[in-house]
Amino acid sequence: MRLHLVYFAWVRERIGKDGESLDFPGSAITVAGVIRALAARGPGYASAFEDLSCLRFACDQEFIDIDASIHDGAELAIFPPVTGGMRRR
């Protein structure tokens, strides 16, 4: 199955690209499965995914949990928790 991956903020910076299309074995995969496969691709990926509690996900532009399954052809976005609005301190 093929997924279109997009990365934002420090996830994008650590991986060194803003997105890519990749093939994964089988016909179904969870977000956690995608993360495991990506983390093995190199030190930038491993560094981006070292703390899963700091990551959020969206499938086809809707927030999803790490244990959700995603379908062939989906756009999976991986990013830190969002920080819109004004400054907080």
Partner: protein, 147 residues
């Protein structure tokens, strides 16, 4: 109908408010909230990144949620992205209603939800160094009071 705009340009809250009430006699209250970039602790600029394919979708969903909860006669949400400096405006929520209670509540609800559900990320420049802003638990808590 709440209109959603995501843009790099500055906005004029007074103009947005006038547009909402133009030619209408049913609106009794307009609440406008403007968020500004604060530079009181050495911040020289911030850059907002967003997820273009998702941002308008997420904001429209948040707006629809507000419209299902309160009596809203019109509204505008504007969120800027790109590089902003202290004093620049960054986010606007303007809500028109018959009475003030719904306008105040909907505007506050929208601001709380924006912070947790809209795909924006902020990088701050403080003392010549860049750093990503971390999400805060208090924002989740502020949002959850509307559950």
């Amino acid at each position: 109908m709440i209109i959603v705009r995501v843009q790099t340009e500055a906005f004029d809250p007074a103009a947005v408010s006038s547009t909402l009430s133009a030619g209408r006699t049913d609106i009794g209250a307009i609440v406008t909230f403007t968020g500004l970039v604060r530079g009181d602790d050495g911040l020289s600029a911030m850059t907002l990144e967003h997820y273009p394919a998702m941002t308008e979708k997420a904001l429209t969903k948040i707006a629809a949620e507000a419209e299902s909860r309160w009596h809203i006669l019109g509204g505008t949400i504007i969120h800027r992205y790109g590089r902003l400096e202290p004093g620049d405006n960054i986010v606007l929520v303007a809500i028109a209603s018959s009475h003030r209670a719904d306008a105040f509540a909907a505007a506050e609800f929208l601001m709380d939800w924006l912070k947790t559900d809209a795909p924006f990320w902020k990088k701050e420049e403080v003392d010549g160094k860049d750093r990503w802003v971390e999400a805060r638990k208090v924002d989740e808590a502020r949002k959850s009071r509307w559950d």
